[in-house]
């Protein structure tokens, strides 16, 4: 074991050197691509092609955010692109504005459209979002073609101005292309960076498991709306640049077919990375050009090529290259550093046994089924409280109501004497309620550490956002469950038992005051179960309050201070383990009625 705290300042020198080398290569490449259009003589045809590619790529980067990071579909990117383009065109031609105010107006209008559409449709998601965006796309196309007094209709708008910066005019196509490529680099780097910020992680959490994201403390709706708005914003920016580049635009350039092209570019290149976006955009702009020799059939061949690429490279071209790279050069195992102890909520006095969670006459009905029926429960601080009951007795439903996934039909909930009945999952997490799931719900495309960091980033955790403190906190939680050495591993490749521990670590990283564990022992073998019991005992020693659901009576007996028994949605017993387990009603619920049924 190498005693290194994994912190940027302490990275091994070799690693720092390669990082610096990569950075230098990156800057050189970026500068070269920006300068190239200024120096190289290019035909007008190729200039146009590159102009199209660079402005499209900006818009496709929007899809990287919304589809790649957040997992939401947008079939109207051409509409947002069109809003940007028409703002620049009408602003400079009809209203006599200079380029810059027109461009910013375009970005603003596209973003506002994005916010409104997002607010209206993102509660639903999935196919609904696809349809709302298609509808918006169709309506916008109709308006562009038919509101002739404003948009000049199908004839389009010629003579669009290009920008002037400090007296330097970008009227020359080469200079303007250099400008567009520069913007593309800036946007691309920002989008790439976004992935590793708190917002970016929240987006990926929503994509991987929306339900778990809410419970871990991510405001899922807000995150989706932000992602959608950023996507619209980049669409507007790309469109504005496009209008300046071509100096002529018409409605058919912003049709549904173009939205499909944008989407295909993103998915073809690899939607989860800005590099993939660039590859996909370049390929789909160049492919039809390369296929020109086929004359009339080239678009048909292009369609066929799209199918073939999806069949053989479903992660997109960049995703395929990444997989190939991992196969050829597997990533080195990260050195596992020394980790500070987990700062659990030890500030609460150990002898404090006041009520932390109070459930009053709580009911949850599904149609005629009373899954939870006027349940009563009080959980005291510094205790391990077990909720047991036969299958179908409403335990998980009750837990889902407690963590805010279900809205109760009746009844009230108090956490630390505050009513929380109406709070959303992430708001409850913000108050200090953490939980795990019966069927493990990790963010499966992310690493163990990233999963835990998302937990540490819960609102109200008291760890400064974006600091290395978050990472330290997450590592401490991983170390607590003995998973620190697996921090760099993708959660999917963990064993089932370790996945359960990783989920507990994710909840612990948020320093919850109350931890809800939904059948933590399910599917574990005997060794893993005894380790779990040890873990729960250690947690108890740190002053954490735990509400645990499980079937396994031996596990419950070993850790619980108090047991509540649920049957047919009602609480039938409550008290210390020894007392409750001898209760005749409880024995009947578990073992069936001892009396023989007499047929009459």
């Amino acid at each position: 074991m190498i005693g290194i705290v994994p912190n940027a300042a302490h990275k091994p020198a070799a690693e720092r050197r390669t990082n610096r080398g990569r950075g230098l290569l990156f800057v050189v490449t970026a500068t070269m691509t920006v300068v190239a259009p200024l120096l190289l003589p290019m035909s007008a045809y190729y200039l146009n092609l590159l102009m199209q590619a660079s402005t499209y790529a900006v818009a496709v980067l929007g899809l990287t955010i919304v589809l790649g990071y957040t997992g939401q579909i947008n079939l109207a990117q051409a509409a947002f692109f069109g809003l940007g383009a028409y703002s620049v065109a009408l602003g400079t031609v009809s209203f006599g504005l200079p380029f810059w105010p027109a461009l910013f107006a375009g970005i603003g209008i596209a973003s506002i459209a994005g916010v409104v559409l997002g607010l209206a449709s993102l509660r639903l998601g999935g196919h609904y979002l696809a349809v709302v965006t298609i509808s918006f796309q169709q309506i916008l196309t109709l308006v562009l073609s038919n509101w002739i007094s404003l948009t000049r209709g199908p004839d389009g708008i010629p003579g669009i101005a290009r920008p002037i910066v400090f007296g330097f005019s970008f009227a020359d196509s080469g200079a303007y292309l250099a400008f567009c490529v520069g913007v593309l680099w800036v946007v691309g780097i920002c989008v790439g960076r976004l992935k590793h910020t708190k917002l970016g992680r929240a987006m990926q959490a929503v994509r991987d498991n929306e339900l778990a994201a809410g419970v871990v403390g991510v405001d899922t709706y807000r995150t989706k709306v932000i992602a959608f708005t950023l996507c619209a914003l980049l669409g507007g920016l790309g469109g504005g640049l496009f209008a300046g580049g071509f100096t002529y635009i018409s409605p058919d350039q912003f049709s549904f077919a173009e939205s499909v092209v944008f989407l295909t570019m993103a998915l073809l290149g690899g939607v989860r990375s800005p590099c993939g976006t660039a590859v996909g955009t370049a390929l789909l702009i160049l492919l039809p050009e390369w296929l020109r020799f086929l004359k009339t059939t080239y678009l048909a061949v292009y369609g066929g090529a799209v199918i073939l690429i999806m069949v053989f490279m479903p992660e997109g071209i960049w995703g395929f290259l990444q997989t190939l790279r991992r196969l050829l050069w597997p990533p080195a195992v990260l050195p596992f550093g020394q980790v500070a102890p987990l700062p659990l909520t030890t500030q609460v006095a150990r002898e404090d046994d006041s009520i932390i969670l109070q459930v009053n006459q709580l009911s949850k009905h599904f149609g005629g089924l009373k899954a939870v029926d006027e349940a009563e429960l009080s959980v005291r601080r510094n205790t391990v409280h077990a909720l047991v009951g036969p299958n179908g007795s409403g335990k998980t439903t009750l837990l889902n109501v407690l963590s805010g996934i279900y809205k109760p039909t009746k009844g009230r909930l108090f956490f630390e004497d505050q009513p929380v009945t109406r709070l959303l999952p992430h708001e409850r997490t913000g108050r200090g309620i953490g939980r795990t799931f019966q069927n493990v719900r990790l963010f499966k495309s992310m690493s163990v550490l990233e999963n835990t960091i998302i937990g540490a980033e819960r609102p109200g955790n008291g760890v400064a956002v974006g600091s290395s403190g978050v990472e330290q906190h997450a590592l401490a939680a991983l170390d607590f469950v003995r998973l620190a050495e697996f921090r760099g591993v993708a959660v999917q490749s963990l064993s089932y038992g370790h996945q359960r521990l990783a989920e507990i670590a994710r909840a612990l990283a948020g320093s919850p005051k109350l931890l809800l564990l939904d059948e933590p022992g399910a599917g574990l073998n005997t060794v893993e179960k005894s380790e779990l019991v040890q873990l729960l005992k250690r947690l108890k020693g740190h002053g954490l309050t735990i509400l645990v659901i499980d079937h396994d009576m031996s596990l419950v007996e070993q850790v619980a201070d108090r047991i509540t028994v649920l049957n047919f949605g009602r609480c039938i017993a409550d008290g210390p383990p020894a007392e409750v387990l001898r209760n005749p009603e409880v024995m009947t619920a578990y073992l069936g009625n001892a009396k023989p049924h007499v047929a009459t």
Partner: protein, 291 residues
């Protein structure tokens, strides 16, 4: 009043076409959980096949229509193997893109063969129609309505009364359980694609004499059919039919009384209204996600 009735009749006729295509969407969606973006192109292919057989080769309709439908059944199977089957275990995004690719391939393939000029197909009936009071019943629209109702009835009988239909239903509801019960799931999905393809082609054949036969005809019908299936309740067969008819009527009335250039917008405005106030559609059910 007379005008309103006339519009209602035309609207139902147009709506039946949306309903037929929407049915195809819903069947494939239920079998595979994927929206087939090439569904409209099945209609386009059906219409073009009729142009080839009955205009270019001068075959009679009674021969052209069955040949087209059989060809489209085969095509549906091919489509399944080329576009859906290799991607079936990879989530919905790759499949959507693959069907979009298929749509581009089909439209441009036909474009390369036939050129951009729209084709026409003569009406199936020699007599134009008849009038009752102020309402003129166009024979082609009557035919469209009649065939749609016939297809809906046949489909209902097939799914509810035959063993094969029940197996296909079981597949669409729970693939894993169906395969455990010995139902060949992959075959059921092939059959679904074949049937959806023929159903789409039928819509194309019926609508061909009313509209021009063009490469883009399918995608515009498909978008509205998609909207119709959402209005009806996504994944619901009755919903697709009622949604399709409702959309046709709303669109026809909107064009007559509000604005002709924005005719195509009404379908989408109706859709947005539904999504805001009744997102589960007319016949859909609200489902809560289970933790």
């Amino acid at each position: 009043m007379g005008i309103a009735l006339q519009l209602l009749f035309t609207g139902l006729g147009v709506g039946s076409i949306y309903a037929l295509v929407a049915l195809g969407f819903v069947l494939i969606y239920r079998a595979t959980n994927v929206v087939n973006f090439a569904q409209g192109d099945f209609a386009m292919l059906g219409a073009f096949s009729m142009v080839v057989l009955c205009v270019d080769l001068q075959l009679p309709y009674w021969l052209g229509i069955p040949i087209t439908l059989v060809a489209m059944l085969v095509f549906g199977a091919l489509f399944n193997f080329a576009v859906y089957y290799p991607l079936r275990n990879r989530g919905f995004q790759p499949v959507i893109i693959s069907t979009i690719g298929a749509s581009i391939l089909l439209e441009n393939g036909v474009l390369a063969a036939y050129g951009p000029r729209p084709q026409t197909l003569p009406s199936f009936c020699s007599f134009p129609g008849f009038s009752i009071g102020p309402v003129f019943f166009d024979s082609q629209y009557l035919l469209i309505l009649g065939v749609t109702m016939l297809m809906v009835t046949l489909q209902f009988l097939f799914f509810e009364r035959t063993l094969l239909g029940k197996k296909m239903q079981a597949t669409s509801q729970d693939k894993e359980m169906a395969s455990l019960l010995g139902i060949p799931v992959a075959l059921m999905i092939v059959l679904t694609f074949m049937y959806s393809s023929a159903l789409g082609a039928l819509a194309g054949i019926l609508v061909a004499p009313v509209l021009f036969v063009s490469v883009g005809m399918g995608s515009s019908i498909a978008l509205k059919a998609f909207a119709a299936s959402i209005v009806g309740g996504f994944g619901d067969v009755t919903g697709a039919i009622v949604g399709g008819l409702a959309l046709g009527v709303v669109e026809t009335f909107g064009a007559a009384y509000i604005s002709v250039p924005y005719k195509d917008a009404f379908a989408f405005i109706l859709l947005v209204v539904f999504l805001l106030f009744r997102p589960q559609g007319l016949f859909g059910e609200k489902v809560a996600e289970k933790a």
